[in-house]
């Protein structure tokens, strides 16, 4: 390679326009999610596999409801939890450990644009998840009703709440610790959080468990999609989780 031509490296500093940064960072975040096998497994394969299994094999008692009507909302909640919470937590935990966030902090990319890009990538994956889950549900005899706006509101609020929790976890623990903790929490919420089993199965613990974010999201979705009711209590529960987790994350988040 020949020498650098004079002037080739002359300073010409300046930040790119914000939309260009947002586009580039969102594309990078999406590329990383779709290229990461575990993430695709967590976001798409496990929810779809569970849905098919739970609806077709009657090993969980759903109190006489239509199986698809009980499990489609639960799996939608699981999908949101997987992408917004577990995926984000693990991603951010390793990005911190690898010094990526530190490096990005030394570029003109504002933190708000970084967070916006992460959010857009999460929403894009969720759109894909929701489409595939609903399609699979319809093929399995799911018969939805209720307001689409209420579903969107629940999913958005759930995304904010789970993202806040994911950023809180990934922003405070080391990469491998985050990986273990995020998967553990995911599993606990799957079992105890109203996704796999109706909360009534847990007896006296039901009122406490219904305050879990996964329970609020899945029961809220169930209320809209099955009974067509406006799920005020789940929306309120999710709002509290969203405010609390984001407040804690913004106080405790460490970039390194």
């Amino acid at each position: 390679m020949t020498a650098w031509p004079p002037g080739a490296l002359a300073p010409q500093p300046g930040a790119a326009p914000l939309p260009r940064m947002l586009r580039a960072q969102t594309r990078a975040e999406l590329t990383l999610v779709l290229r990461n096998g575990e993430q695709v497994l967590l976001s798409l394969v496990i929810p779809l596999g569970l849905l098919v299994l739970l609806v077709t094999v009657p090993f969980v008692d759903v109190d006489g409801q239509e199986r698809a009507d009980f499990f489609v909302p639960g799996v939608l909640a699981l999908a949101v939890m997987s992408t917004a919470f577990t995926g984000q937590a693990i991603g951010v935990g390793f990005e911190r450990q690898y010094g990526v966030l530190k490096r990005l902090g030394a570029t003109p990319l504002p933190r708000a644009v970084l967070l916006a890009a992460k959010t857009l990538a999460v929403l894009a994956v969720e759109v894909l998840q929701v489409m595939l889950i609903c399609l699979t549900g319809l093929l399995l005899g799911w018969n939805p009703s209720g307001s689409a706006a209420a579903v969107v509101a629940l999913v958005l609020l759930g995304t904010v709440a789970f993202s806040g929790l994911g950023l809180l976890l990934g922003g405070t623990l080391r990469g491998l610790t985050t990986l273990a903790a995020a998967n553990l929490v995911w599993f606990v919420l799957l079992v105890l959080g109203g996704i796999l089993f109706p909360l009534a199965a847990f007896g006296a613990a039901e009122p406490a468990l219904s305050l879990l974010p996964s329970a609020a999201l899945s029961s809220g979705l169930r209320e809209v999609l099955t009974a067509g009711e406006l799920p005020l209590q789940p929306l309120a529960t999710l709002a509290v989780w969203a405010v609390g987790s984001l407040a804690a994350a913004s106080r405790l988040f460490r970039w390194e």
């Binding site: 390679m1 650098w4 490296l9 002359a10 260009r20 590329t31 030394a106 570029t107």
Partner: protein
């Protein structure tokens, strides 16, 4: 001093009660290459990370291009190469460089930068599959792609093979020619000697020497003149011809060393003295101090953790 690209004044940083940086002051002239040189643990990285805004100082002042290190406007004017890491393991080299380039208003062409740093052939390899040296060079590319006025390079050539090291040095020299200020840390003396206009030698968080490479190597101890000649020459007679303060020794037999203020006159005196005795002095060498001598004198010969 106004107009300095980087100004550090009485900087102090303690970790768990131990002073890592203590009363550190220096200033970097715009458009020059400045090296912070010191053994491991001397406080180089801590100093640079305070200047980059990653850490806060316990005391003292830092002005980067006249601004406090955390001023947001510096993010587009300053390029940073951290000591390690700093890229998404799952992104390819080209994708990572293009990503960071897209944050800048007038970035360098990413593909050309990859080629010039010898990364053209691994442009489509994921970062985690690059060798350590390739990751280092990508990190350097990420630091300069936004066409900054000032770049911080923390150990830019650590672990590089000679060709990669040369490519890095050429980039640093080209940056200086184009008016970019470069602040680098290194424990490699030849690197500082080759690249830096000004050097600060740090030890245990304090400045032990500062100046240009020429000043540092010229000051202090005297020079040496060595030559080979038949054993057993009369050194007493030689000393009589030499100016006061010089010494002459023979060790081992036939290897002569004259120590003192080595100047052209001294060299001529020794050569004449040999000629007068019909002695052919072979391999006559004047040795001035290298930065390495200065460094070892100041920081001691013991290896650091």
């Amino acid at each position: 001093m106004t107009g300095a690209a980087l100004e550090v004044l009485d900087l102090a940083k303690r970790y768990a009660g131990r002073a890592v940086v203590d009363c550190l002051s220096f200033s970097v002239r715009p458009g020059t290459v400045f090296a912070l040189l010191g053994p491991n643990g001397a406080g180089k990285t801590t100093t640079v990370e305070i200047c980059e805004g990653f850490r806060s100082a316990d005391a003292g002042e830092v002005h980067v291009l006249g601004l406090p290190p955390r001023d947001r406007s510096l993010r587009s004017r300053v390029g940073v190469m951290p000591q390690s890491g700093g890229a998404y393991p799952g992104l390819r080299a080209r994708e990572m460089l293009r990503l960071v380039a897209s944050f800048a208003a007038h970035p360098l062409p990413p593909d050309e930068l990859l080629d010039r740093l010898g990364l053209g052939e691994v442009a489509d390899t994921a970062y985690r599959r690059l060798s350590g040296g390739q990751q280092q060079r990508l990190s350097l590319a990420l630091a300069v792609v936004g066409r900054p006025e000032l770049v911080f390079l923390d150990e830019p050539t650590a672990g590089l093979d000679p060709q990669a090291r040369r490519a890095t040095w050429e980039l640093v020299e080209a940056l200086r020619s184009d008016g970019v200020t470069v602040v680098l840390t290194t424990h490699l003396l030849d690197e500082a000697e080759r690249l830096a206009d000004d050097v600060v030698i740090l030890d245990a968080g304090r400045v032990v020497a500062a100046g240009t490479v020429a000043e540092l190597t010229a000051s202090g101890a005297a020079g040496q003149l060595r030559f080979l000649a038949p054993a057993g020459l009369d050194l007493g007679a030689l000393l009589a011809d030499l100016p006061a303060g010089c010494s002459a020794t023979e060790s081992p037999a036939g290897h002569y060393l004259v120590e003192g203020a080595v100047d052209p006159r001294l060299l001529a005196t020794v050569a004449t003295w040999c000629a007068d005795r019909g002695v052919l002095a072979r391999d006559l060498r004047v040795q001035t101090r290298t930065l390495e001598d200065v460094f070892l004198e100041l920081t001691g010969p013991e290896p650091r953790a």
